[in-house]
């Protein structure tokens, strides 16, 4: 089922090809999930890799905009909140550019045949139709669920319908396969 949605005031921001109508076909839930996954994949070497930074270096501290709630930056877009909050060994999250790098060029040194593993959309499954979906990704360094699942930065398909319930992991459990080494003898 597809629901047409009017995007008021956004015509100017919408890419060529459908800008003239001002109307966008919104896909069903599965499509929305895939769309979210696609946007996510654009900036990541593989599912779970730290995203590269999609904007230029403004010379500001990252946390000025990527703060606890995120921030709208005129002319650029919405800077989502940082998902890193409660990591036990969070020293790394104090130095953003240790993991997130700017893209200064779009060339390659030599061609690569590397293809990263994509997001597993089936992993966020529900045990029964009414059950809460499982968390389809690792939680480590993604403890602030609201960064991606609530507010203006949350994409359709992964946006929470109950933002008032702030203790997400009471009902949603993560899939953490860490340490189960399938190719490791003796363990």
């Amino acid at each position: 089922m597809r629901v047409p949605v009017k995007l008021i005031g956004l015509a100017a921001l919408i890419a060529a090809g459908c800008a003239d109508t001002g109307m966008v076909e919104v896909p069903d839930h599965e499509g929305a999930l895939k769309s979210s996954a696609a946007v996510r994949a654009e900036r990541r070497a593989y599912d779970g890799a730290p995203p590269t930074i999609p904007h230029e270096d403004f010379g500001a501290n990252c946390s000025n905009c990527h703060n606890e709630r995120g921030r709208s930056v005129s002319g650029v877009g919405f800077a989502p909140a940082s998902p890193h909050v409660d990591t036990r060994y969070a020293g790394g999250t104090m130095r953003c550019r240790q993991c997130h790098v700017f893209q200064e060029t779009d060339g390659l040194f030599v061609a690569t045949s590397y293809e990263g593993v994509p997001q597993d959309l089936a992993a966020g499954d529900r045990a029964t139709p009414g059950a809460p979906p499982r968390i389809p990704h690792r939680v480590l360094m993604r403890e602030n669920c609201a960064a991606c699942h609530d507010g203006p930065g949350a994409r359709e398909g992964i946006r929470t319908v109950h933002p008032e319930r702030t203790r997400c992991r009471q009902c949603h459990v993560p899939i953490e396969a860490s340490g189960e080494f399938t190719s490791e003898p003796g363990k």
């Binding site: 076909e25 895939k34 900036r43 790098v101 200064e104 030599v110 590397y114």
Partner: protein
């Protein structure tokens, strides 16, 4: 150059307040027809240490359809606890550059001819045999690295020392941490640090000596930052010659004139002694005093000088080349007298460091209520007085007793994943044998000959050529056959002009690598190697942790592991008795033989089974239990005391540590009117060493795509150079054109420039000089003089 592009990535421009746009829809449609959403079901996971730096982060490697498709930081690894840096997160791409070497290739004039492994191995064996027969064991060489696995290094060392009777085995780690080896050996008669990474959580003051940890050991720096966040009293001092990303997090930035760190350390010692901040009880119980040769005319700067009397026309006097330090006994009284020259005022004059900062540093080291960790890496090691500087930092900890206890240690960091495990522990430096033994010592040779099952007298008592000599001997034609593995010397050797090579010069160069590099370009025979998890391996990291991984994927084409290549050549030379293990199961027995060198000596390595089942073990491992703090009662099983420390390895010093009195000497070359700028070279976070792996990773290459010269903006304005403009950098040895970086991530002070060395098309080593620390034979990449011109 650094184009500040605004990238039209989906979502960047359209996000606004919409969670959905038509670009999303296009993606959704594209994806609906693709196979997005492959389940994790096909993934298998295994563990491995990261391929890059000496930190040794634990990585979970995800494999699908025979390819590494993903990695995760290993939450269960005590090293990194799930965190990686940007290089580690992008490890998989390193394996899949489309120019991977896949077949042995023999030079055929200007072209290359694919040959079989049998042909290649037969050819290597015959070349080595021919050189041995005609010119003896000094005419053959093998040059590896701190990226050799324990297997590769052990195979090379055993083949050479027990088979070819030559000690011409060297690693590129000579260029990297040889000064740390001589530092620890002269003070403790046993190599490697006493502390472990827990120091970064429990220490109070972190004194970083010429050490840009935020970029070079990012995950360890994160552990310090986490400590600092939880304990606001924690302080970081960045002692450096340029501002770096590390400086942003420092409580105090101490900028010194290149080379004057020797004076600064002595200035701190001066104040500690003068103000009674030394630990007399600790000194009485655990420390002796030594003093070496200090005459600058006698020592010189290794192979570099103005007299031209050495073995090569541009070498220094021959006696500098052959210099050997002679230590004699000294005393605390003699130290006091020696330190009289290093008043804060005089040190400030030499170093440019304000007196107040020298006093602040002395206050930190002298405060018995706070744990102090000193870290250092290339700034101290790649130094014409690198051994001295290592000695002086450890001296600061000895004189205050701040050593071998949690949160108080001198902590030497290594840059390569197995610089400790393979180079220092296996002993692949030209004079070393496993477990701190050396070829010059008859007892050590006898022990090695016994374990290796070769007749007494097999091992040559003469140390082999150190790296700098090895390449010069190769250029002179004295070394006739050389084989390099896991390293890229035609990018990384200083003063590259001196080893410019035209193949067909009568020597034979074999290069094993995973990608084409400037080193394969000058080879006679190129061999394709298996990389990282394409083979089984063991690395040893900076905190003495030995880590094992299993092969996770097949290497491409006919690529094979480096150790296998060595063993196969040895077998073809009639030395199969050195490698008597089954062809399909040789890793474990080879490791267990090597391990037998280490047992009972305080260097005890863990068993293979334990390595397979754990995220690495910190040696000495006795009864299956690791040792987090060496020489410390309650931690180290070799220490029988109930409290305190015992430097039990230093048999020659009465089981005490040696405090070495070391003066300040000027660097080999300093700026003058003709060449008014200091040049420092080094690395960046995104690239690892010569870039042969990381440049093939899309995200890393796109983040930092080419070499540049980092300048102070005042100098740039004075010379009329704008950001991105081409600059010609000229030294006495060569010149190089590259774009200017102004207000980049680092900021050198006026009169100083920095060039990273990852870009093989812009090699700063055509500029650097090949002066060395005459004790460690490690060259100095951090200090030479250049001039700048607008290109």
């Amino acid at each position: 150059m650094r184009r500040r592009r605004f990238l039209q990535t989906v979502g960047a421009g359209t996000a606004g307040f919409a969670a959905f746009s038509c670009a999303d829809q296009e993606h959704a449609e594209r994806l609906a027809s693709s196979e997005t959403g492959i389940s994790e079901a096909g993934l298998t996971w295994s563990k491995a240490p990261c391929r890059y730096c000496g930190t040794g982060c634990g990585v979970e490697v995800g494999v699908q359809d025979g390819k590494v498709v993903t990695v995760r930081g290993d939450k269960k690894s005590p090293v990194n606890r799930g965190l990686l840096c940007v290089k580690g997160y992008h490890l998989p791409g390193m394996l899949y550059g489309e120019d991977r070497l896949t077949h042995p290739m023999l030079r055929d004039g200007d072209d290359w001819k694919q040959i079989s492994w049998d042909e290649a191995l037969d050819l290597i064996a015959s070349k080595y045999q021919e050189a041995l027969d005609e010119s003896g064991p000094d005419s053959v060489a093998i040059y590896g690295s701190g990226q050799w696995t324990v297997f590769d290094g052990y195979a090379a060392s055993k083949w050479f020392r027990a088979g070819l009777k030559s000690n011409n085995v060297e690693p590129n780690a000579r260029l990297c941490m040889a000064s740390a080896v001589t530092g620890f050996m002269t003070q403790f008669q046993s190599d490697e640090p006493m502390g472990c990474y827990e120091d970064f959580e429990v220490g109070d003051d972190f004194i970083l000596w010429g050490n840009n940890m935020a970029e070079m050991h990012p995950v360890l720096f994160s552990r310090i930052l986490a400590n600092k966040r939880e304990n606001p009293g924690v302080r970081i001092v960045d002692i450096a010659t340029r501002r770096t990303p590390t400086t942003d997090y420092a409580d105090m930035y101490v900028e010194f004139i290149p080379g004057s760190d020797l004076a600064l350390a002595n200035g701190i010692l001066h104040l500690l002694v003068k103000n009674g901040k030394i630990s007399q009880a600790f000194l009485d119980e655990n420390v002796i005093f030594k003093r070496g040769i200090e005459d600058i005319e006698q020592i010189g700067f290794g192979s570099w000088g103005e007299d031209g009397l050495g073995l090569d026309p541009s070498d220094g006097p021959a006696e500098h080349y052959r210099f050997t330090d002679q230590g004699r006994d000294a005393s605390l009284a003699e130290l006091e007298e020696f330190l009289a020259d290093y008043t804060p005022e005089r040190v400030s004059e030499i170093s440019g460091v304000p007196v107040g900062q020298i006093r602040a540093l002395a206050q930190m080291y002298g405060d018995q209520g706070r744990g102090t960790v000193s870290t250092w890496c290339m700034g101290v090691n790649q130094h014409t007085r690198g051994t001295w500087m290592n000695n002086l930092i450890t001296d600061l900890h000895l004189i205050t007793g701040k050593i071998s206890r949690p949160g108080s240690n001198p902590f030497s960091l290594t840059g390569q994943p197995s610089a400790c495990g393979t180079v220092r522990e296996v002993g692949t430096l030209a004079h070393r044998l496993p477990a701190d033994m050396v070829v010059m010592n008859p007892d050590h040779r006898a022990k090695a000959e016994e374990i290796w099952g070769v007749p007494s007298g097999t091992i040559n008592p003469k140390p082999g050529l150190h790296t700098m000599d090895m390449f010069r001997a190769f250029m002179r034609g004295e070394v006739k056959v050389m084989w390099t593995q896991t390293t890229n010397p035609w990018v990384s050797i200083p003063n590259l002009n001196r080893i410019e090579r035209e193949p067909g010069d009568g020597r034979f160069l074999i290069v094993s690598d995973i990608y084409p590099t400037p080193s394969t370009a000058v080879a006679d025979l190129v061999l394709p190697s298996a990389a990282w998890v394409e083979r089984e391996g063991v690395f040893g990291n900076t905190e003495r942790r030995t880590q094992h991984w299993h092969k996770a994927v097949d290497p491409p084409g006919e690529a094979t592991e480096d150790a296998w290549q060595i063993v196969e050549v040895a077998k073809r030379m009639g030395m199969e008795h050195l490698f008597p293990w089954p062809e399909d199961d040789w890793h474990k027995p080879m490791y267990e033989e090597y391990r037998s060198f280490t047992l009972g000596l305080g260097k005890d390595l863990a068993s293979y089974e334990q390595l397979e089942q754990t995220r690495g073990m910190i040696w000495p491992v006795v009864d299956g239990i690791e040792t987090r703090y060496r020489y410390a009662a309650g931690y180290d099983p070799y220490v029988k005391k109930e409290r305190g420390v015992h430097f039990y390895k230093a048999k020659g010093y009465g089981e005490k540590a040696a405090f070495w009195i070391r003066p300040y000497h000027r660097p080999a070359e300093m700026p003058d009117e003709e060449y008014p700028f200091w040049l420092c070279t080094g690395r960046v976070l995104e690239h690892w060493h010569t870039g042969s792996m990381t440049r093939r990773v899309k995200q890393l290459h796109q983040a930092v795509s080419e070499g540049y010269v980092e300048m102070n903006r005042v100098d740039a304005r004075r010379l009329g150079i704008g950001p991105g403009q081409m600059v010609r950098v000229v030294s006495r040895r060569g010149e190089l054109e590259l774009p200017a970086m102004i207000d980049g991530r680092g900021e050198p002070p006026q009169g100083s420039v920095f060039i990273p060395f990852f870009d093989e098309s812009r090699l700063p080593n055509v500029l650097t000089l090949d002066a060395m620390d005459n004790i460690s034979k490690e060259p100095d990449y951090k200090k030479c003089a250049v001039r700048l011109e607008r290109a």
